[in-house]
Assembly symmetry: C2
Homo-oligomer: 292 residues x 2
């Protein structure tokens, strides 16, 4: 299905035949967490930040991961090597493990760990320039910042948006403000100022989001966290989303209308370039940015 | 783990060894739905109502169940018979099935079907009289009425409440109103009037809730759907929760304080008795109510 080998609870197995118990709480209740880490040229990018988020989430939900930060990196690197991949997305899934099929997880204390690779998304220069079409979707809650396998609200928002010809759904919280994308964080530019919703709006603390904030500071961009009403988006000069897979990806159409000029904006371009430079530096790539 | 036999995608398998692919979207994304149906004395109770809710939810999320109402009943009855059970809870899980590990479910159209039995909860008269301790828990969203396997918010609320010595968590929506219990619906009595939150508050359309409404009408009780602020609960004369497993279960303590007299109230008793009579009539039991 994805790659030929997955890591599951201590050993590598053929992806096609790897199985978990039907009593795994990840299957019965979406009672788990996950992280997806990008590898470029054989090197993991921002693995420590992903581990930190996983560890924080695991403590909140009361799952004890059977690895520390070094063990997390080791699992991902071994999965990469086992599959002879150098550019890939590695998803680590941590669930509460097998237990009786009742909601109360008491006594369920042997977590399940899965690492599954998939090829890195192919975003060429042409696709990047075209950018994404996004769509606003009202959601009841946005997962309260946990990167949970209880992901169905996000899945449904994305599915609806894709069904209507958009690429990404922007999730609007009950207060009417944008929280995040279904699989990304959102940024925008208004009168030269870069802004993104505060995490209090309900979005996930994206690893790529954090890096883009760091890059914005280094580039001396005017920046703020700002509550973004769904209406405010329509007035943006630029919009882009960030994720491990999409990196910095322009949103050029929103709800069927062009965003700003309808082309990737100048700050989006600068941050995209800075991100790719950071990837190149961190992962020791000799070739330049993909879309260079 | 639960019973010895589960039904999985067309055949019965030993529960201990029944497995699903690690790429099942139920495991990766909590992208599925479930129903839990009670069997009394070998007869299913309210199976059609459970099927109706599942069919409605499946249409909303875009999963096509490989069975109709009769097939749903047949799967449950066969699981009951295969396990030689007469009193049991039968959980049917329907997920979007196996697909690539990306959030977009496009092209994933062979659902997974699991039916797993577990013994019926043993609620004796003494436990019923003691009633439950409940606790209020603020949640970002309550699943927008879907009985989804993306159940982690409910699991975490229940886990927190149990950890603090309560039996059930009452979920408070972002507006500050009670939506439901983590695994139940809530009812209360104020000055002789029975009330339950409207489904618009975010709770699930419980099959047992619907039956209790029907019984309240038949008993000519004063009844209304009413927005219940978390504060209003403290003034209730009676509180009870309803679910397929708990049936009509008194809540006698809330956030550590007694509810009303601290004992099951008279309307709670009447509805409990009426519910048990309905079970007896529908499932042809010759013995009287369990706690009789």
């Amino acid at each position: 299905v994805s790659g030929p080998w997955v890591y599951l609870n201590g050993r590598f197995q053929a992806a096609e035949t790897a199985r978990v118990s039907v009593f795994d709480r990840g299957f019965l209740y979406g009672d788990g967490l996950f992280e997806t880490v990008r590898a470029y040229g054989g090197r993991l990018f921002r693995a420590d930040a992903h581990h930190a988020r996983l560890a924080t989430g695991a403590a909140r939900v009361g799952i004890t991961p059977p690895f520390d930060a070094a063990g997390f990196v080791d699992l991902l690197e071994r999965t990469l090597a086992k599959n002879r991949l150098s550019d890939a997305l590695l998803r680590l899934t941590l669930t509460r493990g097998v237990g009786p099929p009742v909601p109360d997880p008491a006594g369920c204390d042997t977590p399940t760990v899965l690492v599954a690779p998939r090829p890195a998304p192919g975003v060429d220069g042409q696709a990047w320039r075209r950018g994404l079409a996004a769509e606003r979707v009202n959601v009841a809650g946005t997962g309260a910042g946990l990167k949970s396998t209880s992901f169905q609200p996000h899945v449904l928002a994305l599915r609806g948006a894709r069904g209507r010809g958009a690429d990404e759904a922007l999730l609007v919280n009950p207060a009417g403000d944008v929280a995040e994308g279904s699989v990304s964080n959102l940024f925008g530019v208004w009168a030269g100022t870069l802004a993104t919703p505060p995490l209090a709006a309900g979005g996930l603390a994206g690893v790529t989001r954090a890096l883009v904030l760091e890059l914005a500071a280094r580039l001396d961009l005017r920046f703020e966290e700002r509550t973004l009403s769904a209406k405010a988006l329509a007035d943006a000069d630029e919009l882009f989303v960030t994720s491990t897979g999409w990196e910095v990806m322009p949103v050029t159409r929103l709800d069927g209308q062009p965003v700003g000029s309808g082309l990737p904006g100048p700050l989006t371009e600068r941050l995209h370039r800075a991100y790719r430079e950071r990837v190149t530096a961190a992962c020791g790539l000799s070739r330049g940015p993909r879309r260079g």
